[in-house]
């Protein structure tokens, strides 16, 4: 029974793989960038001139054939990582990205040990 479950899930995994249309990609990139002159707004949502400029830059870069990742690194080089809402994985963000998983596993361990100590075993 369990294996059938897993099979069903794997099956749905395979027929549904990942892609984005160009237009959607543009808005996705807008949303993942901080508007540097605003208070906690992204480029897509902001009405500021800064945001308008960055939007134009992104459109141009996409037309030049850069992909999502390249657009991010281009902008990060110019404005610093502060502009990226998704911090790139590097020395200063390993803890940020990995700590949650450590916590989750730690939680599982604590729960496991607690239950092992306190479970009544039926015979």
């Amino acid at each position: 029974m369990k294996y059938t479950k897993i099979l069903i899930l794997l099956f749905s995994f395979f027929i549904l793989s990942h892609s984005y249309s160009d237009e959607k990609m543009k808005y996705k990139i807008y949303k993942n960038l901080r508007c540097l002159v605003c208070q906690g707004q992204n480029i897509g949502d902001s009405n500021s001139e800064f945001a308008q400029t960055i939007k134009t830059v992104i459109n141009d870069k996409l037309d030049e054939g850069l992909n999502e990742r390249e657009v991010y690194s281009f902008l990060a080089e110019k404005y610093g990582d502060w502009i990226l809402y998704k911090p790139p994985l590097k020395n200063n963000s390993y803890v940020l990205w990995l700590l949650p998983y450590v916590i989750f596993i730690l939680g599982a361990l604590i729960l496991f040990i607690f239950l092992r100590k306190n479970t009544i075993h039926k015979k």
């Binding site: 479950k5 027929i15 901080r34 949502d45 009405n47 949650p100 607690f114 239950l115 306190n118």
Partner: protein
């Protein structure tokens, strides 16, 4: 005059607190099972004093008494009455006073509502409550006094930030505060319970009401904030994982964990210490959230450095709170053996707690990491929505599964005979999604899995409902909340996939064709309102596929006091989707920037959250649905 009266009442409230602490301490030594009448009387008077002081600030706002710095800085004579009133808590000092008022009212209610509980337990709770009250009052008086005077008295105030002039935002802070402050009761009760070695099951019964109440208000408060952000901030999003939003969400996770785990404590008198820890953490997290928001540390480490006194006080207060709780915990915590059965209902509740704590910690890490990094290495990074989605969304899949699995389990035993049915339901959910996506062709694996499991939860909860009918035993509140949670995740996922947006620049009178839509900026009207001037755009959106029209009127508002430009979105909602248009002018040109969005199921997202809350609210009603 008002200033003096206000100060007088605050001082009297503080004195009452001291008296209450003193008399409670005396009362503890006396024999007998009744709390002295004196304590009730002082508590009532104290409540009256704070309400009066709040009332005075309210009057000062309504009549625009600018001899108070606070009124001068946050109000204006031309402001509509509603926003004069909500202006009272639209700023740091006033909201702190509101916080204290709720704290005092809740203490009085606690004293009166739990007449059956043990005397010592109630007195200790009262002592801790009043220590908290005094702490906040001293902060108010020394650092953030809303009654501070201003001389010479100005003729006009500086006004309230126009984006805060909004009905949803008027009720947002009071609702959240009812949640935040409600958690103070079980914080104090937990410490009192440790000291008096109170019976765990009775403790659970006492705090259950408060956990549910605070959770309910927290839920509705977060919703109000979210709705406000949706239509007022003009970007069509409803949750941005902004640090300020996060600080209201973090206590919510803990409250949700508590709602579940007190059931074990109530039924089995088990996991007492864990419930105590959660109770202490919830209020601590509430104060931490307030600290983060109020100190200014969230926006930048540097604003904190500029005016450190406010943050410093809360930080010291917080440390005292944490360390004394830790001390009391280690000194008094009893050691108890637990009894657990694998796959029993208790087991799944612990799983819930595991996930809740995990979500909490992720949000905490995301909120604090950039601050810590900047302090230790001067590197600035942003942690935004993508981080939270990437880290947390995958965990929703097992979480949804456990939410649907838990209610099927039995208390104390691992029996479950629904294996075949579960499998069928899962199979059915997968089929629904596959059929669905055969037509829509969405290819994001994660979203699809989340959709499958949200449907799984919905179906399982509906089956649960029918099983309840058969057994003639209703746990309506669980069914409603779980069902609504399933729908919430479902609608949010659908919304995130199918939201469309177009960003375009148009001249007055121009129209443009995009995909299936024709968007026309027909004309512009300039109108004068009481405290602002507005430019209204008449926008026509023609859906060429369905051959329908929609007329929208986004606005650009220029407020006079303080001079600010805001953009009002125009939203047409129906059950299936919202049409959302904002307009702004591109400076130095005749072009207007229009943002047109179609957002599916917004109304249903709000409704789901309301129903999650309603479920909890039903538990508060006295009629428990027993056989």
């Amino acid at each position: 005059m008002l200033s003096n009266l206000g100060n007088l009442f605050i001082t009297l409230t503080l004195l009452s607190s001291f008296l209450l602490i003193y008399y409670s301490a005396v009362g503890l030594k006396k024999n007998g099972s009744l709390i002295p009448e004196k304590i009730f009387r002082i508590s009532k008077t104290q409540c009256l004093f704070t309400i009066l002081s709040f009332f005075i600030l309210l009057v000062a706002y309504i009549f625009s008494d600018f001899s108070l710095i606070n009124v001068y800085e946050n109000s204006h004579t031309t402001k509509p009455l509603l926003y004069k009133i909500s202006g009272v808590w639209g700023n740091h000092e006033g909201s702190l006073l509101l916080w204290i008022v709720i704290l005092v009212i809740f203490s009085l209610l606690f004293l009166n509502l739990n007449k059956l509980a043990d005397k010592k337990f109630r007195l200790f709770t009262l002592i801790f409550q009043n220590i908290l009250i005094s702490g906040f009052l001293i902060f108010l008086i020394t650092n953030s006094n809303p009654f501070s005077k201003l001389y010479p008295v100005p003729n006009e105030g500086m006004g309230l930030n126009p984006i805060l002039q909004d009905p949803a935002l008027a009720i947002h802070p009071p609702l959240l505060y009812l949640g935040f402050v409600g958690s103070s009761i079980y914080f104090s009760a937990a410490l009192a319970s440790l000291i008096t070695k109170y019976n765990g099951s009775n403790f659970a019964k006492t705090i259950k009401f408060w956990v549910l109440t605070s959770w309910f208000f927290q839920t509705i408060g977060i919703l109000a904030g979210s709705i406000w952000a949706y239509y007022e901030l003009g970007w069509g999003g409803y949750w941005f994982w902004d640090p300020v939003e996060n600080s209201s969400l973090m206590p919510w996770f803990l409250m949700t964990a508590l709602i579940h785990s007190i059931l074990i404590l109530e039924k089995k008198n088990d996991i007492y210490l864990w419930v105590i820890i959660l109770s202490i953490l919830t209020f601590t997290m509430s104060v931490t959230g307030t600290f983060l928001v109020r100190s200014g540390i969230l926006n930048s480490v540097h604003t904190f450095a500029n005016d450190p006194s406010r943050g410093l006080y809360i930080l010291i207060f917080l440390s005292i709170m944490i360390f004394s709780s830790l001390y009391i915990f280690y000194k008094y915590a009893p050691s108890k053996k637990s009894n657990f059965q694998f796959l029993s209902k208790e087991f799944f509740i612990l799983i819930n707690n595991w996930f809740m704590i995990f979500f909490l910690i992720v949000v905490l890490i995301g909120t604090l990491y950039p601050i810590v990094l900047e302090v230790i290495s001067e590197q600035k990074i942003s942690v935004g929505p993508p981080y939270y989605v990437i880290v947390m969304a995958p965990f929703l899949i097992p979480f949804l599964y456990f939410v649907s699995r838990g209610p099927q389990a039995q208390w104390f035993s691992a029996q479950s005979n629904n294996k075949k049915k579960n499998f069928l339901v899962l199979f059915f959910s997968v089929v629904i999604i596959l059929v669905f996506f055969y037509f829509t062709k969405v290819k994001d694996v994660l979203i699809n899995l989340i959709l499958i499991f949200s449907i799984y939860l919905i179906l399982q909860t509906i089956l649960d409902f029918f099983r309840n009918i058969k057994k003639n035993y209703f746990n309506l509140s669980r069914i409603i909340s779980h069902l609504a949670f399933g729908f919430l995740i479902f609608f949010i996922s659908i919304n995130s996939i199918f939201s469309t947006e177009y960003d375009l620049n148009l001249k007055n009178g121009e129209k443009i064709k995009l995909d299936n839509y024709e968007i026309e900026l027909k004309d512009l009207n300039i109108l004068n309102e009481k405290n602002y001037k507005k430019i209204v755009g008449n926008v026509i959106i023609r859906d060429q596929k369905k051959d329908t029209f929609e007329f929208l009127e986004p606005e650009i508002r220029v407020y006079n006091m303080p001079e600010t430009v805001t953009y009002e979105a125009s939203i047409k909602s129906n059950l299936f989707f919202d049409t959302y248009v904002t307009m702004s002018n591109l400076s130095g040109s005749e072009f207007y920037n229009l943002k047109f969005q179609r957002k599916p199921f917004m109304i249903l997202i709000w409704l789901s959250i309301i129903f999650i809350g309603v479920g909890g609210f039903l538990r508060l009603l006295p009629m428990r649905q027993k056989k």
